[in-house]
């Protein structure tokens, strides 16, 4: 049997693939790389493209929109991005989040009123306790 290396493809949302392959091809930022078993330790960023796993004549492909490839002699790990990441896009997301916060805070911000927060919470806790008591009394 040919030599194989263990391959894990994971994204933040789920595990995409876990298994073995004789050869792994990945779209590294500086050009496609092919990883054979016992490759030296390497770490590189990936750009959008296909990851191909070769087993004999069979080939499996996975699409990644970017991420990081970590190579150990017997383990290849792909930390895949699920989203298309680019500086501009991230920036746009950040601006969107800020705008939403501003919308939520139409009224002027002042110092947080901890005293009020605590009293409100104490009130809620007291209500819960009362309910609890009533329920016990009923039984």
């Amino acid at each position: 049997m040919a030599m194989t290396t263990h391959v894990d493809i994971v994204s933040a949302e789920e595990e995409i693939f876990s298994g073995t392959a004789e050869m792994v091809f990945a779209p590294a930022e500086m050009g496609e790389v092919g990883i054979a078993p016992r490759h030296t330790q390497m770490i590189t960023r990936l750009k959008a493209g296909e990851i191909r796993l070769q087993n004999g004549n069979e080939e499996q492909t996975f699409f990644v929109s970017g991420g990081i490839l970590e190579v150990q002699p017997h383990v290849v790990t792909v930390l895949a991005d699920t989203a298309i990441r680019a500086h501009d896009l991230d920036e746009a997301e950040a601006i969107k989040a800020k705008e939403k916060a501003e919308q939520a805070l139409q009224d002027k911000t002042s110092d947080m009123e901890y005293a009020r927060a605590q009293s409100e919470l104490i009130e809620a806790a007291a209500q819960l306790r009362l309910i609890e008591k009533l329920r016990k009394a009923k039984k």
């Binding site: 894990d8 994971v10 994204s11 933040a12 949302e13 789920e14 595990e15 590294a28 930022e29 500086m30 030296t40 330790q41 390497m42 770490i43 590189t44 960023r45 990081i68 970590e70 790990t77 930390l79 991005d81 699920t82 989203a83 990441r85 991230d90 920036e91 746009a92 997301e93 950040a94 601006i95 969107k96 989040a97 800020k98 939403k100 916060a101 939520a104 805070l105 009224d107 911000t109 002042s110 110092d111 947080m112 009123e113 901890y114 009020r116 927060a117 605590q118 919470l121 809620a124 806790a125 819960l128 329920r135 009923k138």
Partner: protein, 287 residues
């Protein structure tokens, strides 16, 4: 027979409510199971990244990422994860009750606080308290995507990098089991070096493409994002569990109410029958 018409209407309306709560309970139960699966599916990513970062930090002691440098704390950031919807027992208020004292304590030390909220409930709560909200996102649904939180996390990470905040915490509910969810406040930044320690038996290093700094930068950002994402997913599992329990007790309570009302109704009905009979009997006796 017109006896106890009001009671019958009341029983009927409670029965309708009970149907809704028991349906919600079942929906929450099935969603909880799915959320738990997502929860375990997100774990390998973060642990893989942690390993790699740990190794990088070890191999390159001379390069310290700004996320790992401790600074004097003047201002801290909180990312607060809550549910979008209510009807989930004391889940959100327990979380806020754990957070507010911590904030009050920081406030006493003269440390200012910036907030970032994920989920409608925390936005509403901290808006009412006039917290300094920097970013917010909500309506993530039952299956949130990483893209949904990139924006809010970036706002806080940028603030950290620019020195606007010196510490970053994330607040979420930890899923202990179906009955128990416990609020957690965890420090995201600076990343404690001890957390990343790993046993190194012999020295080796990676080949970096393009170079170690860019790779590490990308990793750090993704690491923090994945931690927040995990918090979001875990919080959803908690929300579903809490809702399931709350709806179960609501269904039980409705059942008790119905039993009580039925008793009253039957008594009234019997009293009416008895009265009718005695009227007939006394009428017959008079003839």
């Amino acid at each position: 027979m017109a006896v106890g018409k009001e009671i019958r209407t009341q029983i009927k309306s409670i029965k309708n409510t009970q149907k809704i709560t028991s349906a919600m309970e079942m929906v929450a139960a099935s969603k909880m199971r799915r959320a738990q699966e997502y929860m375990s599916a997100t774990r390998p990513y973060a642990s893989k990244i942690r390993n790699v970062i740990g190794h990088l930090a070890h191999a390159h002691p001379e390069y310290k990422h700004s996320f790992m440098i401790e600074r004097e704390v003047k201002r801290v950031g909180f990312i607060i994860i809550s549910s979008d919807r209510g009807l989930c027992g004391g889940l959100n208020s327990n979380e806020f009750r754990a957070t507010v004292p911590k904030m009050a304590e920081l406030d006493k030390q003269g440390i200012e606080i910036d907030l970032c909220t994920i989920g409608k409930k925390s936005t509403q709560f901290f808006k009412r308290l006039k917290g300094n909200l920097r970013a917010e996102t909500s309506d993530l649904g039952d299956r949130p995507r990483l893209e949904d939180i990139i924006g809010v996390v970036k706002v806080m990470l940028d603030a950290y990098e620019n020195g606007e905040i010196d510490q970053l915490f994330v607040v979420y509910n930890e899923f202990v089991n179906t009955m128990t969810q416990s609020p957690q406040i965890e420090q995201l930044l600076p990343i404690a070096a001890a957390e990343l320690e790993e046993e190194i038996t012999h020295h080796w290093d990676y080949i970096y493409e393009p170079d170690s700094k860019t790779v590490l930068d990308g990793l750090m950002m993704r690491y923090i994002e994945s931690l927040v994402y995990q918090g979001v997913v875990e919080n959803i599992a908690c929300e579903m569990a809490a809702r399931m329990v709350a709806m179960k007790s609501a269904t039980d309570n409705a059942g008790e109410l119905i039993d009580g009302l039925e008793l009253v109704y039957n008594k009234a009905r019997q009293a009416a029958i008895t009265q009718e009979i005695s009227e007939i009997v006394s009428g017959a006796a008079a003839v």
